[in-house]
Amino acid sequence: MDPVLILLLALFGFMLIGSIVAVETRDLLSSVICLGAVGFGTSVAFLLLGAPDLAITQVVVEVLVLVVLVRVVITRKDETQATSRSTLGVGSVMLVLGVLVAVMFWMLAGASGGRLKMRAFGEPLMSETVAAAASAPAGEPEMATTQTEPGSIGGAYLKHGLVGTAVSRGTGAANYVMGIVLDARGYDTLGEATVIFTAIIGAYAVLRRIGRQAHARDVADR
């Protein structure tokens, strides 16, 4: 029995309980603190799954989210009487979501057989290998290597990312994830920088100083 699997299941149970408390409790400050527990649990899960870059990023991002949310919540009183909308609407939405999740999981777990089946936890797609002729560039079959190639893109990045092949230079980065993010898939990082820029400018636009025009208009009307 894989010890990582047991630890991961225990951690997911803790995170589920924390998230249900965060959603259902009436006090806003406790809700935000339980969100912090879920976030730190995610960081430990990333460490257990072999992703140290993500664990570092998740911890510091979680700290900043907590600082911002606590700053908003702690000085504002809130007097909502009940916290849910009408029961019939919520109940039907939850029923549809539950049925959707059950069907999705049943299909991915392999009941239908064939191409939709998700692989078991611990054996990703890149463990497969395909014949080498499929990896040669188009029109030059004699450039194919003699051994088998990985069956997925992640495996190809792992095998050829550092030093490269005859047709493409490698990235040269010892951290394979950074090599993918900034060299092989750099265009996606440019898009992500644009999204962050736009979100922050949106926050600036919402929080501008207003009231100068309205106040001047009111004074002029009197």
Partner: protein, 163 residues
Amino acid sequence: MQGMSLIVKNITRLVAGFIAIFGVYTVFYGHVSPGGGFAGGVILAGALVLIVLAFGEEFSRKVLPHGVAQTSDALGAMSFLLVALFGYMAGGFFVNFLPRGEPCTLFSAGTIPISNLAIGVKVGAGLFGAFLALALFRRQSDGHSRSPIAGRPNRGGPNGEES
């Protein structure tokens, strides 16, 4: 927003520099050890947020003004785009045109350390600016709101009010 007590201020004086240095280290060694531009930028923003929270609004307005955060954010994004455009010297958009070097050393992997630096500056300055805008926003007693970001240009009321 006032600052905090004397103990917090003294500890911040000792610790904030180390947090910033650790953030810069994470950015520069991103291609050798875990971390990278995003994690390092957020750590850098965390050090600046610590200074603002501990010393209060008046101090931060003198030392870390909001305009500098906005300008650094834009400069970081532009330099990341410039690194991508310089790839045209070697054949195409985003081509890694510098020499590779030995793996696991600091000067390796072509343009990746430069991209890491640009992304670190952008993410750090942007998130710090967003925190400043959120934390320093409050409603005054006369109904206006006060925020560190200038609003619409002042057309002048009948009394010629200035912001």
